[in-house]
């Protein structure tokens, strides 16, 4: 299915995004009851993205990264047209600024959301640069040493004294008021870029920021992003006891027994801290609150990092493994063959944001391999 050359390219990117080796994902594909839908979803997705590019319509670097990764995982390479690779490569290279960074989106007066970016030059950011480099890497395009050095110089400007990375141009809110995933995902992308480019720095400010901030996290995504950053920087160094306690309490408390899925956040805690001081908690009762694919998969990623250090999580996994596995197996594709659970607000009829996304479809695709990976970790732990 996948030639060795491409396999090497996606190995790093796939692992970074999904926390499990792409070869294992490919191996479990045929067992997935929805594999035809998933193949169709990524085939059609990459085709649509390419058509938009050909028509000079903008596509997002984040979406493109996930579509390219999914396509390389499930579509036979012979089915991927050379023009597709050429057009995507050209498009991404056109997103590059002279300082080496990449934009998340091309500014184009014809675009429907042009007013948001009105008057801006290429809107570059940390995460979009990571996604763009990932795409180029997966498609076998190498940047020059000079370009890579520029990126390293550019990236260093975004580290705050607190240790976190973020881009004040797009989000100039004071750090303590920022939405958590802005800080944690940008930092993970920055660290992944350094890792990708084999750059060594003083990581202590980031590690301290994570250690100090972990207990304050409200969301599964940011928690996973912090722990993955920690893992990249410490290379298997054991986490502190306090971190282990925080993580195991977080994971267990976000688990929903009925569905086998994990919540992105705990309703009352998140709403009290972000809403109106907890005064009107009764109002939230009508808000719809369900475990999501992202948060559930992120929980598995956290488990894969912490099972060796936490007997609580080890026991938790052993007790709930089959229900968690069922949660992923029970997901069915939406009309576009993709996967995802809609976010709903109060009783609005329409889902808030997209129902299915390429990232969630990748997570469904990778879930069997991830569950096997967790079983392997447990087997290893049993042996020792």
């Amino acid at each position: 299915m996948l030639q060795q050359e491409s396999r090497n390219f996606i190995e790093k990117n796939g692992f970074w995004r999904l926390g499990v080796e792409p070869s294992k994902i490919i191996y479990t594909l045929s067992d997935n009851p929805w594999h035809d839908n998933i193949i169709e979803y990524f085939k059609r997705g990459i085709q649509t993205q390419t058509q938009l590019i050909e028509r000079e319509k903008p596509v997002f670097a984040a979406d493109l990264f996930h579509y390219v990764l999914g396509t390389l995982l499930v579509v036979p390479q012979s089915d991927i047209e050379e023009t597709t690779v050429f057009n995507i490569t050209k498009y991404i290279l056109n997103l590059q600024e002279s300082n080496g960074s990449f934009a998340f989106y091309p500014t184009n007066p014809q675009t429907e959301i042009a007013q948001v970016l009105k008057g801006q030059t290429l809107p570059t950011d940390i995460y979009s640069t990571f996604y763009a480099l990932g795409i180029l890497d997966m498609l076998g395009v190498m940047l020059t040493e000079n370009q890579l050095e520029k990126i390293i110089d550019w990236l260093s400007e975004f580290q705050a004294t607190s240790g976190w990375y973020y881009n004040l141009y797009w989000g100039n809110t004071q750090e303590h008021l920022k939405l958590q995933n802005e800080v944690t995902l940008q930092t993970l992308c920055a660290v992944s870029l350094y890792n990708f480019l084999n750059v060594e720095r003083d990581w202590n400010p980031i590690l301290s920021a994570i250690e100090e901030g972990l207990a304050e996290l409200l969301y599964m995504g940011p928690m996973q992003q912090c722990l993955q950053t920690w893992e990249i920087l410490t290379c298997d160094k054991p986490p502190t006891t306090q971190m282990i306690n925080t993580v195991q309490e977080f994971v267990v408390s976000h688990y929903e027994v009925e569905s086998g899925g994990f919540y992105q956040y705990l309703l009352e805690r998140a709403k009290q801290l972000t809403g109106s001081g907890g005064k009107y908690i009764a109002r939230y009762k009508r808000d719809q609150f369900v475990p999501h694919v992202c948060s559930s998969y992120n929980a598995l990623q956290i488990l894969s990092l912490f099972l060796p250090y936490s007997s609580t999580l080890y026991d938790f996994w052993q007790s709930n493994r089959s229900d968690i596995s069922e949660f992923f197996a029970n997901q069915s594709p939406s009309s576009d063959d993709g996967f995802g659970i809609a976010v709903r607000i109060a009783q609005y009829s329409e889902p808030f944001g997209p129902e299915s996304t390429p990232l969630e479809t990748l997570m469904i695709l990778a879930s069997s391999a991830m569950i096997e990976h967790l079983d392997e970790i447990c087997n290893q732990l049993q042996k020792y």
């Binding site: 998340f104 989106y105 973020y166 939405l179 969301y219 992105q264 972000t274 109060a346 808030f352 997209p354």
Partner: protein, 490 residues
């Protein structure tokens, strides 16, 4: 209501209750929620006095009965009341209205009085943030009150801060509502969470509830829903609601715009303290613009400002009155500024509207068409989606699904979302949820994180007609006697 306007239709309460067989059951959509509401009533109609005796039934037992008119005239004020109550009135518990502007509170109280007469006493709750009492002026006021009480013989040690705070609020309230204090019970809610930004800043709000009216709220909401639907559906008549003509167009009276503008009533005060008046740029037929046409239009402008077209005869029609009522509740202008902008400079007079319901947005657009015929594309400058803090968790979940960081601007996070992927996703949601916004897709601006409320559409308009609209609302709804000479019969 005042004698200045002729009714545009009426509600036959007896026929309404007959069709429902006394069983009111409706799904009320409000702030993104669908609230099922139901209540059974027993009623008797006295055709000679034209009054309906209405009483709720609980567990087969009749409750307190009240008298309401058999026929409720749908005057312009009554229709505006429907819009204002639907926008800002209580949808649960007792009938009531939260608003810090006394004139608007009185306007709604009068509307309720048309329906319910003196059946209910008012319970008033005055809300304020604790920070307000830290302001220099307020501290001084509390000191004066305390000294006065000591002089009157009260032991100093028995005077609490809470008592002083309540007295400050009572004095403020009494100065605004001096004529309605006698039969009201006043409660105070002083909280650190009311939303005042800094010491001395106020988050003053008055909630005026009709005591023991809870069982009659379903009846009121059903009447309101019925009225709004009949206007939106342009339905001339049924047994229960009869309009004298098409609710979207019919009018008995109109505002003679030429004499109204020439009278100078359409004026405002500039930042420099000068009084300026809207003036006529071109009269009917003198100016032709292809997309607007020329018939029945008057072109007006602020001195040296942008000209815009208004009807020569502004029809006082059901749809206009409903729009003005909703605008009182959901419009972007400060309510207090309506009553002062002709005497002093008011920064907060603007033209804009926000809503979480498609029907309300439709009423706003239709009303704009009446006020500014065929010009709404020039009047509306853009729209955005506002998301309150309560919905940040859902917003972060969307960002996580897409795989992007969710950034926002403004040092306190009160500004626009900086994440374009999220912006596009939420814009697409807004168009799916409110399909009429599709027409305005090119004018979409951004997502704004602000307040605490549910994601909703916020429409921004040009500034040049803002004071014009404020003058029209103020004069048509609150001071119709002041424009009696410009109101003409068809």
């Amino acid at each position: 209501m005042g004698p200045y306007y002729k009714a545009l239709g009426h509600i036959n309460v007896d026929a309404f209750l007959q069709r429902k067989n006394g069983i009111i059951s409706l799904n009320l959509t409000d702030a993104g929620m669908v609230r099922p509401i139901s209540q059974n009533y027993y009623w008797e109609t006295d055709t000679s006095s034209k009054q309906v005796s209405l009483c709720p039934i609980h567990d087969q037992t009749k409750g307190k009965n009240i008298l309401i008119p058999q026929f409720i005239n749908l005057t312009p004020e009554a229709i505006a009341f429907i819009g204002a109550y639907d926008g800002d009135g209580n949808k649960t518990n007792n009938i009531g209205f939260a608003q810090n502007n006394p004139q608007l509170q009185d306007f709604v109280s009068k509307g309720l009085q048309v329906l319910f007469g003196d059946s209910f006493h008012s319970d008033v709750t005055i809300l304020e943030d604790e920070k307000y009492f830290q302001g220099e002026d307020v501290v001084a006021q509390m000191t004066i009150i305390k000294e006065k009480w000591i002089t009157q013989g009260r032991p100093e040690e028995q005077i609490t801060d809470r008592e002083l705070q309540e007295e400050v609020l009572l004095q403020k309230y009494a100065s605004q509502y001096s004529n309605v204090l006698s039969d009201e019970t006043i409660k105070y809610v002083i909280s650190p969470h009311k939303g005042a930004g800094a010491p001395g800043k106020s988050a003053y709000e008055i909630i005026r509830n009709q005591r023991n009216s809870r069982s009659f709220l379903p009846f009121l909401l059903a009447i309101i829903k019925e009225g709004v639907n009949s206007i939106l559906q342009d339905s001339i008549g049924s047994n229960e609601i009869t309009w004298l003509g098409s609710p979207l167009a019919y009018h008995q009276q109109y505002l003679d715009m030429k004499s109204y503008i020439e009278s100078g009533k359409c004026c405002y005060v500039t930042a420099g303290g000068e009084i300026r008046r809207y003036e006529i740029y071109a009269e009917q037929g003198q100016l032709f613009e292809p997309h607007i046409g020329q018939s029945n239009l008057l072109w007006i402008q602020k001195p040296n400002g942008q000209r815009f077209a208004v009807p020569v005869e502004l029809p006082v029609s059901p749809i206009l009155c409903l729009m003005l009522g909703y605008y009182l509740a959901e419009g972007s202008s400060s309510k207090a500024a309506y009553f002062t902008f002709r005497e002093r400079y008011e920064q907060n007079i603007s033209l804009g509207f926000n809503s979480s319901e498609e029907d309300t947005l439709r009423v706003f657009f239709s009303g704009l068409d009446v006020l500014f015929p065929n010009s709404r594309h020039e009047i509306i400058t853009g729209w955005l989606v506002k998301i309150g803090g309560k919905y940040f968790p859902e917003s972060i979940t969307v960002a996580e699904k897409i795989g992007i960081p969710l950034a926002r601007r403004g040092s306190k996070g009160q500004g626009a979302a900086g994440s374009i992927e999220f912006t596009e996703a939420v814009r697409d949601w807004a168009i799916a949820q409110f399909p009429l916004m599709q027409e305005w897709i090119d004018k979409f601006l951004h997502i704004e994180f602000t307040g605490a409320g549910i994601p909703r559409v916020d429409i921004r308009c040009a500034g040049f007609p803002a004071q014009f609209l404020a003058a029209v609302i103020c004069d048509l709804l609150f001071f119709p006697e002041s424009i009696e000479e410009f109101i003409r019969d068809r």
